[in-house]
Symmetry: C2
Subunit: 575 residues, 2 copies
């Protein structure tokens, strides 16, 4: 095997990545403006800032645990680095605990990976996995690194085990298009914008646009069962994935590739959602579609969140298919759905309309359609008419346009809020329609009780299906002075888990399990045949348990993951 042009110089392979570890990324002026407005608004509504949590600079790791022999073995297959700055850059996702740990704000932080490797072929990925399996090294697949649930938290079976991050972004690009079948073969590590840009050359689009779009990849979307903002039109990543290739230590596994089949259990659906625990997804066959020529924007105000939810339920069951439909509860509506906050005109429109319905309960609905010339307008008008017939009052297109234009800004604004002393996070679930309103109320109450009176708990429906919908919460509270900055966060997550579990709702609708929700999933799937089935599947594909320790149902790791939500209240006196 030819030795690749291995380089240990961080800046060649990884330069662009090194600057944004303790934050979502470099915020532009729009994001900073949004953050300032949000902080003003939080204060106006009685949520004061607390102890600031600024970035104290990179928490550079000490010596790598990787031995020289093991390192040379990796270098045979891929560019490999043990540079502390590179290891630091690949050890944190974008969860709140990740950000705090990366900022040096957690006393027991994250123990970073011992090396980073960057394969550029699927065969090299297999060879790396085989090498790590043979040498007892754990691996963590890292694409865009945007997990907000500890999906890439480096965890070890024992404190001495080396952990290697496999950077998948060397497996990038659109490798082929079957125009007749509207299928695209894409590298698992292709960032969202590059993927859409390359597909654009054929006038095609995937249309999978999660909020992490700029910083995430198909490998991550598939591994986490992601859902994009346009799920109503294009489906979830499960619907968009026709097939995939998974690298394992024992070779490549190719699954799927058919429009539909009756060929036994779906291994594709077993690897979808495997969160890096079964191997490394190297490429996927994705269902693409013609790029829409036009979009249509509608905003409506309803008397209550419940009324808005009923209208959305009716819409998703109709033959009319907008790309996006969202309903904000009263709190989120009062915040003009966050993104629009900085726009005084939009804000005035929403407030006036909301006040006319009885301000306290008003719910803003955003409906966006996409399609060919004429089609977007036609679908959008039909959707708006349906929403009006269910009680919605149209307030023009501007709030929806503003939300659309600012839809990627919120995570950048989060950084500024942490700097200012606000604990800020999101939390999401899904449930059948008949339990949705009750769950919204119960979760809102439980979260407010846990976060304290001076907190923000706002919610919207972000994804809707004929039988149910998702609820997406945004939380903000002052960081208490002294002590564990995550104490209230743990209390809120634990309270939410109890309510979600009692309601038969999802541990996650689209963020995933990672290390954060592992105990919650474990409680849902206790010892028994179902758990054994999950475990056996993983054991078959990763018998050495090399891949992404501590995620999903795997609790067999050293120490306590920074991201893990503790389900039991800590004993009195314990931190």
């Amino acid at each position: 095997m030819p030795r690749p042009a291995a380089t240990r110089r961080s800046d060649e392979a990884w330069g662009p990545r090194l600057g944004r570890v303790g934050s979502w990324g470099r915020a532009g002026s729009d994001a900073l403006h949004l953050a300032r407005t949000l902080i003003e608004e939080l204060q106006r509504q009685g949520v004061p800032p607390g102890e600031p949590l600024p970035d104290r600079g990179p928490v550079l790791p000490g010596d790598s645990r990787l031995g020289d022999d093991a390192r040379r073995a990796l270098e045979r297959h891929a560019v490999t680095s043990t540079d502390p700055a590179v290891r630091y850059a690949f050890s944190y996702g974008k969860s709140l605990p990740d950000l705090l740990a990366a900022r040096g704000q957690l006393p027991d932080g994250i123990d970073p990976v011992d090396a980073v490797v960057r394969p550029t072929t699927a065969d090299a990925a297999c060879a790396l996995l085989a090498s790590c399996a043979a040498d007892g090294i754990a691996i963590v697949p890292v694409g865009g690194g945007s997990s907000v649930v500890g999906g890439i938290e480096p965890l070890r079976r024992n404190p001495d085990q080396p952990v290697v991050a496999i950077d998948t972004t060397g497996l990038a690009g659109v490798h082929g298009i079957d125009e007749g079948s509207l299928l695209a073969e894409v590298g698992a590590g292709t960032y969202g914008p590059r993927l859409e840009q390359e597909l654009g050359r054929w006038q095609l689009t995937l249309g999978h646009i999660p909020q992490s779009f700029e910083q995430s990849t198909p490998g991550g979307w598939i591994a986490a069962r992601s859902s994009g903002q346009q799920s109503l039109l294009v489906g979830r990543i499960e619907d968009l994935t026709a097939g995939l290739v998974l690298a394992t230590a024992d070779g490549l596994v190719t699954v799927g590739g058919l429009p539909a089949a009756s060929e036994g259990p779906s291994l594709l659906e077993a690897i979808l959602g495997s969160e890096g625990t079964m191997g490394l997804i190297t490429s996927a066959t994705l269902r693409v579609r013609p790029r829409p020529a036009r979009m249509h924007f509608s905003s409506l105000v309803f008397r209550s969140f419940g009324e808005a939810a009923d209208a959305i339920r009716a819409l998703v069951r109709s033959g009319t298919r907008p790309a996006i439909v969202r309903a904000s509860d009263a709190t989120e509506t009062a915040f003009s759905v966050f993104g629009a906050l900085g726009d005084g005109n939009v804000r005035a429109v929403v407030e006036r309309a909301a006040r006319s319905t009885g301000y306290d309960e008003a719910a803003l609905v955003t409906c966006i359609s996409a399609g060919g010339h004429g089609e977007a307008q036609q679908v959008g008008s039909a959707a708006e008419a349906l929403l009006r017939s269910h009680g919605g009052r149209p307030i023009g297109s501007r709030p929806a346009r503003k939300w659309y234009a600012s839809r990627f800004l919120q995570p950048y604004a989060r950084d500024a809020l942490l700097d200012a002393g606000y604990l800020i996070d999101t939390l999401e679930t899904s449930v059948r329609w008949s339990r949705l309103e009750r769950l919204h109320d119960d979760l809102s109450n439980a979260l407010r009780a846990a976060l304290g009176e001076r907190s923000l708990v706002a919610c919207h429906i972000s994804h809707a299906y004929p039988d149910g919908a998702s609820l997406y919460f945004t939380l903000a509270a002052p960081v208490p002075a002294g002590g564990d900055p995550l104490e209230r966060w743990h209390a809120a997550k634990q309270a939410a888990a109890a309510v979600i579990s009692a309601a038969g709702a999802a541990a996650s609708h689209h963020h995933g399990i990672g290390s954060m929700h592992a105990d919650i999933l474990g409680q849902r799937i206790p010892d028994g045949p179902a758990r054994r089935a999950h475990q056996s599947l993983r054991d078959a594909l990763d018998p050495t348990r090399t891949c992404n320790p501590g995620k999903l149902l795997d609790g067999d790791v050293a120490g306590t993951p920074v991201n893990r939500v503790r389900l039991q209240a800590p004993p009195p006196g314990a931190r």
Copy 2:
């Protein structure tokens, strides 16, 4: 545990089932008329009858292998029968080999099950499985018993192993409706007509209508990844199944129940398609919808099958959603799509239209829409307009109405054709659009070569998706005098398997694998991590390998299954 009111009298629990083992069922006058017309037409087109294969009467089994102790153990949990007539009734599906074996027309027939049990609760199903697992007894779950791929063929690990059929039709009925979420809890053994009748009380429908509808159940649909005629509107059974309960020897496994979630691999999608090899599906949560008030029927003729396929592709990618769209190739069109054969008027309309396009290649398209008042008409008109814009010539609604009215008759007619000396069967697959026309041509040629010049090979597209479609073939040929009546069938299936495999097409689109396609699937998934993953999943849920031996990837059975397609040509001189 109280002893159920066990009865060994066949007629109480199983009476209605005993009469139709070697046939699809009791044919009505419409089916008999269709059969007569089909036979006339086959002869007119140069396909003469061969050696008749009449039903020689029940092939009643000898002594049951079930010991007294094991039998008493079963009787503690469910009505149990070792009556030869009952055992005979539960030992055959509806494949061509099954029918011939049941008719006493195969020298090496099927060795029937040793008992039949009929649990009426999920707990009883678990107890039965545990009892069989402990006693080394194999089980075969049997719902409607309509498998055409040997899905319920009773197979044994060794010649002395007892096999018990578990009749699931005691687990029947709609147990609950969540109207707000459009979800129905249904017993796995509910026959299609009863299910739709019970849902009708709420003005709801599932809308899953496979051709086997009258003789099949949700448990079977789910186990075999079934697809109904209205899949374009309602989806496949995978889309309709929100959750299910699986009885295993180690207890019940409850999976799914959410509209969508990001909670790791989907165990639901692993049990979907498990064909009884992981346990027994006892109930399911199904996505239902308001019963449509109206239907709309269109028929169009295209210049060629390829042009019709292109039009259907455009239709399924549009926002217009009819319930059913089918395209018949030239041969099937010449037969007026079989069902309409007996209607001289319809036939004249189709022939006239076809001739006007150049008779040899004309393709008939059937398009049927369903929906509320006004909606069916609106969707139907839009679909027809789209098909016209792609070259279709409308020929009124009558051929489509006739097909719809006769859509369940064809399997009944098959029986009369066997009686008359025609080997008749169907075969289906799916593939991406870019390979569809080529696959149609290659499969047609391979099947004609295998069946001989005096044969019928007709095809239609029955299910369409944005990235591909299914091809459904109907085959007829004279039964050769003397020798193995299945010899040509084996040659045809083997030839088809080679073409399908080379094209990257599905071993089955909706019939399943069963014992028939097990070697084909095995060839597709050779030893390696993917195969181990499949096997491990099964081992986790059925560690004693009690459930449905010899199906899917399981080749570890005594003897050669009657249904198994032999992939290797037999050695010279062998039968």
